[in-house]
């Protein structure tokens, strides 16, 4: 990264330029879509869950720098976590891990949190049909 001036922290720019876990998971356990193009951002979160552990997380995001960086950071934070641990990841935690976001961009981190909540809900619903399985 060049040292050019940016409205974002170095960490945000790093995750924007070199997003971690960008892509799709072909055999994802859950895929959650949040946001829409009219709002200017949309995130698709893919989780692969095995025995209550998130073994893989990937994303595709249409949106601004903050939206892409928070997507990237969220997937980093999710990988290897138990569902219980994942549940407690807040948008503030994602923003803090990126060394903060401009106030006007905090809603982008909310989108990442919403994607996580939706993915976990979808997972729970899919598990309710399977008696005796792990539930969050």
């Amino acid at each position: 990264m060049p040292e050019g001036a940016s409205p974002y922290s170095k960490k945000v720019m790093d995750h924007f330029v070199n997003p971690r876990n960008m892509g799709e998971i072909a055999d994802a356990t859950v895929v959650a879509d949040v946001g829409n193009p009219a709002c200017g951002d949309m995130m698709r979160l893919y989780l692969k869950i095995e025995n209550g552990i998130i073994v893989d997380a990937k994303f595709k995001t249409f949106g601004c720098g903050a939206a892409i960086a928070t997507s990237s950071m969220l997937t980093e934070m999710l990988k290897g976590k138990s569902l219980e641990e994942a549940k407690s990841i807040s948008n503030q935690a994602v923003a803090e891990a990126l060394d903060g976001l401009p106030p006007v961009k905090m809603h982008c981190s909310v989108m990442a949190e919403e994607a996580l909540i939706k993915a976990l809900e979808q997972y729970n619903q899919s598990q309710e049909q399977k008696p005796g399985s792990f539930e969050v």
Partner: protein, 408 residues
Amino acid sequence: MQPDAQRNIYFDHAATTPVDSRVVEAMLPYFAERFGNPSSHVHSKGVEANQELDQSRETVARLINAPAETIIFTSGATEANNLAIRGYLEANQERGKHLIISEIEHYSVINLCLKLKREGYDLTLLPVDNLGLVHPDKLNAAMRRDTALISIQHASSEIGTIQNIKELAIIAKEAGIFFHSDAAASAGNIPIDVVDLGVDALTVSAHNFYGPKGVGALYLKPGIKLEAQIIGGFQERGYRSGTENLAGIVGMAKAAELALTEMPQRHEHLSGLQQRLWDGLSQKYEFLHFTGHPSQRLPGHVSFWMEYIEGESLLLFLNVYGIQTASGSACASNMRGQDEHDLAASHVLTAVGVPAEYCSGSLTVSMGKGNTTNEVDYFLQIFPQVVERLLAMSPLWADKLKGKNPYQ
């Protein structure tokens, strides 16, 4: 692809231009040597300053073919627009309570008129066609017996379209309605003749044609009454009090002088760059759509929107590669805001019919006299790589590749 720290390509001249070094040189003596106050017209320093003020007024007037005494120096285009509009309404209250502006005016006109609406004025926002032009018949239809004022910009900094001001001003003149035009984006960049255009008032901004920020001017046709908006002493014939920003005014005059002599060659150079960029982008992507008028537009100005890609991420990525451009994307609109309510997609793009779900993917490339064909070629080399990166991240593009319409 590796970010290029060496590159520093400024393609955002619609936002502001670099001050020409000859302008800086002309301004320098007016800080510490010729620092006099033009109002101190008895002693030497004051007389010297007053003479320079008069001379600058003449030069700036010449830029728009106006008599010197019609020029009121202001702190910039925003103040000039406020002075023209509110100043006219206050001084001519018998003229009525109805205002007409176009949908694609600058915020300094739109937000002022929205405030006037809250204060009791009726406001008509004239629609533009999909190339950004205001049609004379639309203006004709909107005019009422109590229409006090019409304000339509000369050119759009966002989509580049140049209005047919002459046609519109004639309609206003026949009806006896005051006609103002905000020429902040165009003055100094394309020829302007206020007599030929037939306007009653016209706004000029120095920093859009290689002059300094913080200085602009309002042309006011003789015989028209305006109420001052900044009250104080007697500067600018009482229309705009406050000790003159002489260094800025001298800079504006120098920039105007350079624009007058160099405009033909700048125009030719910029038209070449514009064509090169346009040719390099058109035909390349079926999901890239140009905005504004294809030929009746500001020189060196190319604007478009793209599907599947968001504008701020496009700007950021281009900036990583050393290319500075602009976007009408909501996300890029107000980074210093308090929260997301301070973000809004460009009203100009929605006015020319770009659907809200696509407004976020807009880009404005505005080149200046210092840009080169080499820089355009670098842009054309980097741009497809950036687009490819962002498409790879886009869930909308992924859906499109799977045959789904992601915008439904």
